[in-house]
Amino acid sequence: MDKFDKLTAVAAPMPLVNIDTDMIIPKQYLKTIQRVGLGKSLFAEMRYDADGNEIEDFVLNQPAYRKAQILVAGDNFGCGSSREHAPWALKDFGIRCVISTSFADIFHNNCFRNGILPISVSHSDLEKLMDDAERGANATISVDLVTQEIHGPDGGVIKFDIDNFNKHCLLEGLDEIGLTLKKENKVTDFEDARKLDQPWLHT
């Protein structure tokens, strides 16, 4: 997995609440059997018209935001389906950090597995960051995972929380499966005990 430690980048504002995974990556793009190449389909139904032409108004089509690496979005980002194609598409487009007031649980987990940092902030902090983001390329935002701080373009600092495990994995770019396999003997012990306690689960 790609490491994440610090990022300074343009942030695109998407004030809409409940941006769901169907918006992030519509189902017609879920038929792939690969993880890569989904960036061009990110937000496809908001981003392109019926003929496949870019819709000018859409934030990521505007010159200032075409290279955005941070999204600042309304409440409950990533709700809906478990499709990991959503973070795959964000990552493939270049987004490495999403800031909102809250995230749907599965999407939140999926981000960490793909080297994307989801940050939850208060409503008032989100408002400030949304204002910053609306200033486009003139106002980059810096995210520092080590110190757990967001630095706005005008020097403002916002602290954020993150659990230790995900922080550690992101900073080191760790493979979670490899980590769990180091404790494989504990899984075997668990299964051995289980065969006695609940044998119907191990037939």
């Binding site: 519509p26 389906s81 689960l201």
Partner: protein, 468 residues
């Protein structure tokens, strides 16, 4: 005896393999369900790293999202869909994972066949690369959706790294009135707490009205828990659960069954256990619900009106409501029962079981689908289809003007050929009314099976209680 624990606490505690770091635990997974859309990259990961599936026998696969629901004898026309299904078949063969093939009568939507086959049991941890895995919580299992990286993690290790969620209790007192179903209860809850209302929680549903629900009703309720943002929903197992499970192909056999039931009876929240959030709902006061917008929280009693953006305090929600009104082609203040529909869809993991189909048949028997309405019924599994046909329900559906299809996810998410065209408006028993969910530009109103049947007859959203 330790501290009093909730049902979720008990299942969580009994599945901890090890602590990984601070709040992150390695949790054992008893059952892993797999489908064609979210698994190919996970199996590819196994191949690349030279890893194996740790317990193929605890894993089960079926194709459901992409499968056509008619003209199956002609094969799968969409090359991408066909590739995904062929890939699943090849992966399950390569890694020794049990699989119901496309020609097996037992195939169907993964969340329908799990319970149907007895793969879903009380006290289990169950995961699947699909958010509606919450369905299986109806059995008093801890069941939730996972992403593809986590699918790979479970395939390899039979575990998942998790943080414990908070406990939420939703107690539903009283009885659901006639015409009001588990679907309406779920929509009412989501309408009340919002699509982020359950975020960070596992919800336990309790109370008289929940106890009175059949297993299928409980599945509908737990299925929609994910639309409230909760990690999982669950109902403590009881006699209704044990009777449903007994005798199913993969359920414990005589001897083991009695031993299992003795354990399952301990799976209930202790008196005095702590819930972080508690919500009480009066079932007696509920009416049929419909959604008007593009989020499941846009749910209102059928007796209501399309809202105006200014009725909402939050600015972000106002923007979303304006956008939803535009997308849905609706004007604020319109009576919900004045909204005309041209499509009706009955099916999905939410409402594609036999009881759902019987309810639809009860409403439409001897009546006709309105000419302007295109109505389809898609059974949740091959066995549901066979059961319905044995009961003669298919004849009732077809006589009324419904199309009777082969099993699959179908128009719930429109990955197969069943989809709405731009501007089409559908009364749907599925679970999501997101923009484009049932087809780009399509407009979805979520309803119960009986409400879908009523809408098919009148050609507009209709209070089933008013139907004579």
């Amino acid at each position: 005896m330790g501290n009093p624990r909730t049902l979720y606490d008990k299942i969580w505690d009994s599945h901890i393999v090890a602590q990984q770091e601070a709040e992150a635990y390695i949790l054992y997974i008893d059952r892993h369900l797999v489908h064609e859309v979210t698994s190919p990259q996970a199996f590819e990961g196994l191949r690349v790293s030279g890893r194996k599936v740790r317990r193929p026998e605890a894993t089960f696969a079926v194709a459901d999202h992409n499968v056509p629901t008619k003209d199956l004898d002609k094969g799968i026309q969409d090359p991408e869909s066909k590739l995904q299904i062929d890939t699943l078949e090849a992966n399950t063969a390569e890694f020794g994972v049990p699989y119901f093939s496309m020609t097996d009568d037992r195939r169907g939507i993964v969340h329908i066949i799990g319970p149907e086959q007895g793969l879903t049991l009380p006290g289990m941890t169950i995961v699947c690369g699909d958010s509606h895995t919450s369905t299986h919580g109806a059995f008093g299992a801890l069941a939730h959706g996972i992403g593809t990286s986590e699918v790979e993690h479970v395939l390899v290790t039979q575990t998942l790294v998790q943080e414990k969620a908070k406990n939420m209790l939703i107690r539903v007192d009283g009885d659901l009135p006639p015409g009001v179903t588990a679907k309406d209860l779920a929509l009412a809850i989501i309408g009340q707490i919002g699509t982020a209302g359950g975020t960070g929680h596992v919800i336990e549903y309790a109370g008289e009205a929940v106890r009175s629900l059949s297993m299928e009703g409980r599945m509908t309720l737990c299925n929609l828990t994910i639309e409230a943002g909760a990690r999982a929903g669950m109902v403590a197992p009881d006699q209704t659960t044990f009777e449903y499970v007994q005798g199913r192909p993969y359920a414990p056999k005589a001897g083991a069954y009695e031993q299992a039931v003795a354990y399952w009876k301990t799976l209930k929240t202790d008196e005095g256990a702590h819930f972080d959030t508690e919500i009480v709902i009066d079932a007696n006061a509920l009416v049929p619900y419909v959604t008007w917008g593009t989020s499941p929280e846009d749910a209102l009693p059928i007796t209501g009106y399309v809202p105006h953006p200014t009725e909402f305090k939050d600015e972000g929600k106002q923007i979303a409501v304006e956008r939803a009104l535009h997308y849905m082609g609706l004007r604020a203040g319109t009576k919900l029962t004045d909204i005309e529909v041209d499509h009706v869809f009955v099916g999905s993991c939410t409402n594609g079981r036999i009881e759902d189909l019987r309810e639809v048949a009860r409403i439409i028997e001897g009546k006709q689908v309105k000419d302007s309405v295109n109505a389809i019924i898609v059974p949740g599994s091959g066995l549901v289809k066979i059961q319905a046909e044995e009961e003669g329900l298919d004849k009732i559906f077809e006589a009324a003007g419904f199309e009777w299809r082969q099993p699959g996810c179908s128009m719930c998410l429109a990955m197969n050929p069943d989809k709405l065209a731009p501007g089409d408006r559908c009364a749907s028993t599925s679970n999501r009314n997101f923009e484009g969910r049932q087809g780009q530009g399509g407009r979805t109103h979520l309803v119960s099976p009986v409400m879908a049947a009523a809408a098919a007859i009148t050609g507009r959203l209709t209070d089933v209680r008013d139907l004579t």
